[in-house]
C-alpha cells in the first residue's frame, strides 16, 4: 500500500511498543457481563433475528454448557472467565449511513490511525471493505458494483434477514455447533461478521476484505464468517486485524466457514496483528479460532495466513476435500516474540479421489515465545490417489524460545502419496556476516533473511497484503536479535 514509505517504516521501528494501542472513545451499548440463555436470547433479539436463528443459538449454547475447555494445545494461559465477559457491544451511532461523511468522525479517525481510511481504500486497488468495529458492520463499500454481478457481500446479521435461505442452508454445515468448545460458544453468541455469496460462474472482480477490531474494554469478539462460492465461481477474501492495547486479556473466538461448490475456488488470506501483550507478556488477545472449508468436486480452497499478533493463538484453518479432484492449500507464517504462544497449523481431510493438498508452514520464534505447528493429514480409505506435501520450517532466534512440531499423518489407502518434512534452524552467522560485509547492517540483514525464509508464503498473499505482511514481520521481530 502506498501508505508505507520507508520513512514511516523507520518511524515505526523506533517505536517498539504496539502503536495501534489506543482506545477510541465511542459511546457503546454493552450488555451486562455473563452468559446465560437470556443473554443469548437478548443478542438474538437485539439483532432482530428470526425464530430459527434464536433456536440455533440456544442449541449451541446448550451444547457449549456441557463442554469443557480444551487443554491439549501446547499453550499456557490463564483461562478466560466466561461469565466475566460482556457478549455484546455495538457502536452506538446507528443507524447506517449513506455516505462516509456521516460516520462518526472519531471512528473515522480510528481508521485513519490504522492506515485504512475508507476514502483511500476506495481509490486503492478496488478493495471493498466491510468494516467491523466491535462486531457491528458500520460501513460497506462497493456494494453496488458487487450487486451488479449478483455477488452478495454483507454483514451476517443482514444476511440472516435478507437471505435466510442461504444462511439457514449453510451455517454450521462445515463447523457444526458441537464441533469444539469455542465454535459452540461462537455459535451461541456471535455478534456479527461477514457473509459472502458468489453466484454460479462469477469471478469476483475485486478482493473482498474485512477489518476486525476489538474496541470496547472487556468485550470478547465473536465473529462469524460464511463464504459460499457457487459452482464455477472464484473469490479472493482478505481479512486483517488490529486491536488496541489492553491490560486484561481479551478473548476472540471466531468461526469461519468456507463452502466451495463444484469447480469453485476460494482464496482466503489473513493478516493477524492483534495486541500480543507487552514485552513482559502482560495483556494481549486470546485468539481461539475455528476455520474450515469444504471442497466439492474440482473445487479449491487456499488458506494463507500471517500470524504476528495475539498473546495466545489457537488456530487450525482446515480443508475437507470431499469432492473428487479437489485441492486444499495452506500457507502460513507464524511469528512469535516476547511471551507470545502460537499453536497453529491445519487439517487436510482427504475424502474424495485424486485430492491434493499442500501445506507450507513457517514458524519464527524469538524472545521467550513458544511456536507450535500442529497438523493433521488424513487419507480416508476411499480417497484413491490422494497426494499431500507438507513442509514445516522453524527459525529460532535466541535460546529462550521454543519451536515445536506435532504433525499427525493418518493414511488408510495404499495409493496415497504423502511427504512430510520439517526442519529447524537459526539465522546463520555466515549469512549475517555476508550481509554486513556488503554494507547491510545486522537489523536489516535479519529482516532480509526472515523475508527470504517466509518468501514461499508471502508470495501467496495478494499484493496489498504482501507489503503489509512484510512490514509486520519486521516490526514483530524488531529488537529480538542482539
Amino acid at each position: 500500500m502506498s501508505k508505507y514509505t520507508e520513512d514511516d517504516l523507520r518511524e515505526e521501528l523506533k517505536t517498539k511498543e504496539y502503536e495501534y494501542g489506543f482506545y477510541t472513545d465511542i459511546e457503546s451499548e454493552t450488555f451486562p457481563n455473563g452468559l446465560n440463555e437470556d443473554i443469548v436470547r437478548a443478542i438474538s433479539k437485539k439483532k432482530e433475528e428470526p425464530e430459527w436463528m434464536t433456536e440455533w443459538r440456544l442449541e449451541a449454547f446448550r451444547i457449549w454448557k456441557a463442554m469443557e475447555e480444551p487443554e491439549w494445545a501446547n499453550v499456557n494461559y490463564e483461562k478466560p472467565d466466561f461469565q466475566g465477559i460482556s457478549y455484546y457491544s455495538a457502536p452506538n451511532s446507528k443507524p447506517k449511513y449513506d455516505s462516509i461523511d456521516e460516520v462518526d468522525p472519531e471512528l473515522l479517525a480510528t481508521f485513519e490511525k490504522l492506515g485504512i481510511s475508507l476514502d483511500e481504500q476506495k481509490k486503492l486497488a478496488g478493495v471493498a471493505m466491510d468494516v467491523v468495529v466491535d462486531s457491528v458492520s458500520v460501513a460497506t463499500t462497493f456494494k453496488k458494483t458487487l450487486a451488479e454481478q449478483g455477488i452478495i457481500f454483507m454483514s451476517i446479521s443482514e444476511a440472516i434477514k435478507e437471505h435466510p435461505e442461504l444462511v439457514k442452508k449453510y451455517i454450521g454445515s462445515v463447523v457444526p455447533q458441537k464441533d469444539n468448545f469455542y465454535a459452540a460458544l461462537n455459535s451461541a453468541v456471535f455478534s456479527d461478521g461477514s457473509f459472502c455469496y458468489i453466484p454460479k460462474g462469477v469471478r469476483c472482480p475485486m478482493e473482498l476484505s474485512t477489518y476486525f477490531r476489538i474496541n470496547q474494554a472487556g468485550t470478547g469478539q465473536f465473529e462469524r464468517t460464511l463464504v459460499i462460492a457457487d459452482e464455477g465461481s472464484y473469490v479472493s477474501y482478505l481479512e486483517g486485524c488490529t486491536a488496541p492495547s489492553r491490560d486484561e486479556n481479551q478473548l476472540h473466538a471466531a468461526v469461519v466457514e468456507l463452502i466451495a461448490l463444484d469447480d469453485a475456488e476460494i482464496k482466503y488470506s489473513t493478516v493477524q496483528n492483534w495486541f500480543p501483550g507487552n514485552a513482559e507478556g502482560k495483556g494481549g488477545v486470546y485468539n481461539f479460532v475455528t476455520k474450515r472449508g469444504l471442497c466439492e468436486t474440482n473445487a479449491k480452497i487456499s488458506w494463507t495466513q500471517v500470524e504476528t499478533g495475539s498473546a495466545v493463538t489457537w488456530k487450525y484453518p482446515s480443508c475437507i476435500l470431499k469432492g473428487n479432484n479437489s485441492v486444499g492449500e495452506f500457507y502460513s507464517i507464524a511469528v512469535t516474540n516476547n511471551y507470545q504462544q502460537a499453536d497453529t497449523g491445519t487439517k487436510m481431510i482427504h475424502l474424495g479421489k485424486n485430492t491434493k493438498s499442500t501445506i507450507i508452514s513457517k514458524g519464527i520464534s524469538a524472545g521467550k515465545s513458544q511456536n507450535s505447528y500442529r497438523g493433521l493429514v488424513q487419507i480416508n480409505s476411499r480417497a484413491e490417489n490422494a497426494r499431500n506435501f507438507s513442509q514445516c520450517d522453524s527459525l529460532l532466534m535466541g535460546n529462550e524460545c521454543g519451536a515445536h512440531t506435532f504433525p499427525y499423518i493418518e493414511a488408510k489407502n495404499q495409493t496415497a502419496q504423502i511427504e512430510h518434512e520439517a526442519t529447524t534452524s537459526k539465522i546463520g552467522e555466515d549469512q549475517i556476516f555476508y550481509c554486513n560485509q556488503r554494507g547491510i547492517d545486522t537489523e536489516k540483514a535479519i529482516a532480509l533473511i526472515v523475508n527470504g525464509f517466509s518468501k514461499e508464503v508471502l508470495n501467496k498473499l495478494p499484493m496489498e497484503f504482501a507489503v503489509e505482511a512484510q512490514k509486520l514481520l519486521e516490526i514483530s521481530l524488531e529488537g529480538s536479535v542482539g
Binding site: I409, A411, T423
Partner: protein, 437 residues
C-alpha cells in the same frame, strides 16, 4: 474381575513371597501405587491415541505361571542365533532355564535379575541403577511393581565383550493366557563394548501378553549395540519399554525388527546426559494380517554437541496397522545438537493403515533438526525395468521392498543377524531369494 484389580490383588501375594529388601520393596510399593492411580492407558491418552489395549486386557491372564516347563534345545534351536557362539540368558514362562542358558561371572556379570535383586553383593548396583532410568508411566510402573526376573548384565570398565549376549523369553502356554513381566538391567561401564540381542517368542496359540522393561546405562565412551527381534505368533503381544541413559561420548544404537505379533508396542526412550553422545534408533516393520506395530520413540537432548539418528521403515499389508510416534526434545542447553528423524512407509493393501506423528520440541537455537516422513508406493518404472529383464513381478516387488529397508539393515554389525533378518524378510514377502544379488 478385571485385569487391573487382579494385578493389584496379586501384588499383595507377590509382595509376601519376595524377600524384604527395604530399597526394592519401597520402589515396588511406590510403583504399584502409581499404577493403581493411573490404570492402563486408554486411547484418550495422547501417547496411546492410535493403539488400543482394550481387547488385550479382556483376557484372563495368569500373572504367576503355576508350573515349570522344560524345553529341549532342539525344539527352540531355530529361535536362537545358534550359528555363532553367544552368551544366552533364556527364560521359559518367566522362569530362568539354566540348561538352555550360558551365563558368566568371569570379569563381568551376565546373569539374572533375581540374583541381582536378592544378593547383598549387588545391593549397591541395584540402589544406584534399578528404576533410575525408567519413568513412572502406568505400564512401566506395573512392571516395576512385579519386577523379579530378567537379565542382569554388568560390564566393568574397559571390557570388550567378545561374543554377543542373547536374552530370550519363551512362553509355552501352559496356562490359558499368560502375562509376563520381564525386567532387564544393563550397566556398561566406561570404554566397554557389548552387543545384545533380545527376543520374545511364544510357542503356543494361547494369548501371551509381555510387558517388558529394560534399563540400559551407558557410561563414558561405552558402546552398546542392541537388537530386538520381534517375530512372534499372531496370538502374542508385546509392550516393550526401553530406557537408555547415556553419558558423554557413548554410542548406543537400538535396531528393532518387527515382523510379527498381535500387538507390538515399542516405547524406546533415550536420555543424553553428557556431551558428544551418539544415539541411533532404527527399525524395520513388515507386517500383514491384523497385526499392529507401534513405535513410540523419545530422544531427549539435554547437553550440547550430541547427535541422534532415527530411521524407521514400514511395509504394511492386509489389515495391518502401523504407528510411528517419534519425539525429539532439544533442551535450551543442548546447543549444536544434530537430530535427524526419518519415517518411510509403504502400504500394499487397501485395508492397511499407517498413522505417523514425527514430533519435534526444540528450545535451543543453534541446532540442526529435521524430520521427514513419507507414505508412498513402489516405483512403477523400477518394477517395469526389472520385469522387462525377466524378474517376475513378485520377486521384483520383494527386491524393491528389501532395498527400501536396506538402510536400516546396513548398519547391523552382526552378520548372522543380518542374514537371519534377510531370511525373515524374504519369508515375510513370500519369496525365496537371498537378496545377496
Amino acid at each position: 474381575m478385571d485385569l487391573k484389580e487382579k494385578l493389584l490383588s496379586s501384588f499383595l501375594v507377590f509382595e509376601n513371597q519376595t524377600e524384604i529388601d527395604s530399597y526394592v520393596s519401597d520402589v515396588r510399593n511406590d510403583a504399584i501405587k502409581a499404577f493403581e492411580e493411573k490404570g492402563f492407558p486408554t486411547k484418550r491418552d495422547e501417547a496411546w491415541k492410535y493403539t488400543s489395549l482394550n481387547k488385550l486386557l479382556k483376557e484372563d491372564y495368569s500373572v504367576f505361571p503355576k508350573q515349570e516347563n522344560a524345553l529341549e534345545y532342539r525344539e527352540v534351536k531355530k529361535y536362537l542365533i545358534h550359528e555363532i557362539d553367544t552368551y544366552k540368558i533364556v527364560f521359559i514362562d518367566g522362569k530362568y532355564s539354566s540348561h538352555l542358558s550360558e551365563t558368566t561371572h568371569d570379569g563381568m556379570d551376565v546373569c539374572l535379575m533375581s540374583a541381582a535383586l536378592n544378593k547383598p553383593k549387588y545391593r549397591l548396583v541395584i540402589e544406584n541403577y534399578f528404576n533410575k532410568a525408567a519413568t513412572d508411566d502406568s505400564l512401566t510402573s506395573l512392571n516395576t511393581a512385579f519386577s523379579k526376573e530378567g537379565a542382569y548384565i554388568n560390564i566393568p570398565k574397559g571390557k570388550i565383550v567378545e561374543k554377543p549376549i542373547q536374552i530370550i523369553h519363551f512362553s509355552t502356554g501352559n496356562e490359558s493366557a499368560t502375562m509376563l513381566q520381564p525386567r532387564n538391567l544393563i550397566v556398561v561401564d566406561e570404554n566397554s563394548h557389548v552387543q545384545i540381542i533380545e527376543r520374545h517368542q511364544s510357542l503356543t496359540s494361547n494369548p501371551v501378553l509381555t510387558n517388558s522393561v529394560t534399563e540400559i546405562f551407558a557410561k563414558k565412551r561405552a558402546i552398546v549395540d542392541y537388537y530386538k527381534i520381534q517375530n512372534d505368533t499372531i496370538d502374542a503381544s508385546l509392550i516393550d519399554n526401553t530406557f537408555i541413559k547415556q553419558k558423554q561420548e557413548s554410542i548406543v544404537s537400538v535396531h528393532t525388527f518387527s515382523f510379527g505379533g498381535k500387538l507390538t508396542r515399542n516405547n524406546l526412550n533415550f536420555y543424553q546426559e553428557g556431551e558428544r553422545i551418539d544415539s541411533t534408533l532404527k527399525g524395520v516393520t513388515i507386517i500383514g494380517n491384523k497385526q499392529h506395530v507401534d513405535h513410540n520413540t523419545l530422544v531427549h537432548h539435554i547437553e550440547p554437541n550430541c547427535e541422534s539418528h532415527q530411521d524407521y521403515k514400514g511395509i504394511f499389508n492386509d489389515n495391518a496397522t502401523g504407528v510411528f510416534n517419534g519425539k525429539v526434545v532439544v533442551e535450551k542447553e543442548a546447543q549444536k545438537t544434530n537430530a535427524f528423524q526419518a519415517n518411510n512407509n509403504i502400504l500394499i493393501s487397501d485395508k492397511a493403515t499407517i498413522n505417523t506423528k514425527p514430533q519435534l520440541e526444540i528450545f535451543a537455537d543453534d541446532v540442526k533438526c529435521s524430520h521427514g516422513c513419507t507414505i508412498g508406493q513402489l516405483d512403477e518404472s523400477a518394477l517395469f525395468y526389472m520385469r522387462s529383464r525377466g524378474i517376475p513381478e513378485k520377486e521384483a516387488k520383494a527386491l524393491l521392498m528389501y532395498a527400501f529397508s536396506n538402510n536400516v539393515l546396513s548398519s547391523v554389525k552382526i552378520p548372522e543377524i543380518k542374514r537371519r533378518i534377510t531370511k525373515i524378510i524374504a519369508n515375510q514377502l513370500g519369496v525365496d531369494i537371498g537378496f545377496d544379488l
